[in-house]
Symmetry: C2
Subunit: 238 residues, 2 copies
């Protein structure tokens, strides 16, 4: 069992309110999003079932669902793995995020009321706190919550599932970004976003969101880091 690198998945408490399949889905989703599973590493139903201590059935369903969201890739061999990344694909994912999320932000703008604005302010504040404490994982989670809170202001929202799919695909590789980003001084684009919201200025909001996304992946400007990780991903367990 050397070639098959061990998989370490953070297990959360299983709530009886959710089905086993849902719990497995959430667990695997978190593992994928945080790069706990090496891209290219073959995932087998029975192995995951052993790790998670459930029967193969819920794992089957969860894997299929994650594959449908492009978080996992099913090869012709019917083998499942986290997709490998390339520099070009990474770039396309980022540009897609910008296109869709700035659209979603503009569409949500008219629906943002005082309550929502306060919620955004609070999240922004929590992000600052987490940033000062250097808790990058928390920053990442809160940042997602901020974006989600913004887009879901639109009660007829239809793009969030698409956006989450992009987050899932970028997730494993963003971890690398944030870990190197520690030294990088971050301008708070969320403040810009919120002043744009107060002014109901859609264009300014789109600019702020675009800048926020671009800076979150600023390390893409240092291609050698991205390249090194992508190489790692490419040469991983075949």
């Amino acid at each position: 069992m050397d070639k098959k690198s061990p998989i370490e998945i953070t297990l959360t408490e299983r709530d009886d309110a959710v089905t086993i399949t849902q719990w497995v889905y959430q667990t695997l989703r978190y593992a994928v999003m945080n790069g706990q599973i090496l891209p290219g590493r073959a995932l087998t139903i029975r192995e995951l079932a052993r790790i998670l201590d459930v029967s193969p059935m819920p794992v089957r369903e969860a894997l299929r669902q994650l594959a449908a969201e492009n978080a996992l890739e099913i090869q012709g061999n019917r083998r499942v793995m986290v997709p490998r990344m390339t520099a070009m694909k990474f770039n396309e994912l980022c540009e897609a995020r910008i296109a869709i999320e700035s659209h979603a932000a503009a569409r949500a703008l008219p629906y943002i009321d005082a309550t929502r604005l306060n919620q955004l302010r609070e999240l922004d504040h929590l992000i600052d706190v987490a940033q000062e404490q250097g808790d990058l994982e928390q920053v990442s989670i809160l940042n997602q919550n901020f974006h989600r809170a913004l887009y879901t202001a639109n009660p007829h929202q239809v793009t969030l599932p698409l956006i989450e799919s992009l987050w899932l695909q970028l997730g494993p590789f963003m971890r690398l970004a944030t870990s190197k980003l520690e030294e990088h001084y971050l301008i708070d684009r969320h403040n810009e976003a919120m002043s744009a919201i107060e002014k109901q200025d859609a264009f300014a909001l789109q600019l702020a969101i675009t800048a926020d996304i671009r800076e979150g992946i600023a390390f893409a400007g240092t291609p050698e880091l991205l390249h090194s990780f992508i190489e790692q991903s490419t040469h991983a367990v075949n």
Copy 2:
């Protein structure tokens, strides 16, 4: 069995090369996309399994996959159905299509070579032929193929799955559109798109794609038709 309206699904030949699950998935997907299943109608695994003459297992997996693509909706009761439509949601889906597809088109533009251009020309011609023959279903299919051929020119394409998800969600309600659109004279936006491609003019291409999408759903300009169908969808089998 009056409340439970019968489901009529077009069955295609089952190819032994694909798994039963895949076949069921394709069959159900086609049925959803073409509005063969009434929005709100509760879908049960065993019923579909009887109709498709397969065991419940492949149906289970196919339903979960379609739900992950937002083609179906899983309610809290764990019941599965085609999501109901609202006028606002319809509008959001259309605007999302425009945002994402014009982005995808611009991103694909630099990769379009002579071969791809010829392929697009041929599809455009086939659409004209089908249009003259009044075969609206064929027009719809070919139109999708045209868009797909355009976006997939980009070898690092990541947005097509998202776009197809939007198509799936709009599908059941587009049928109504095209059926009323027969009388409507359609300007051929594909020609505009292709001349923009030849000039490598990204902005013009985006305008052409936007116009093409907007006209494909032109009936949204006649709100009463949309509204009537949405009402039908809303008041369908509870």
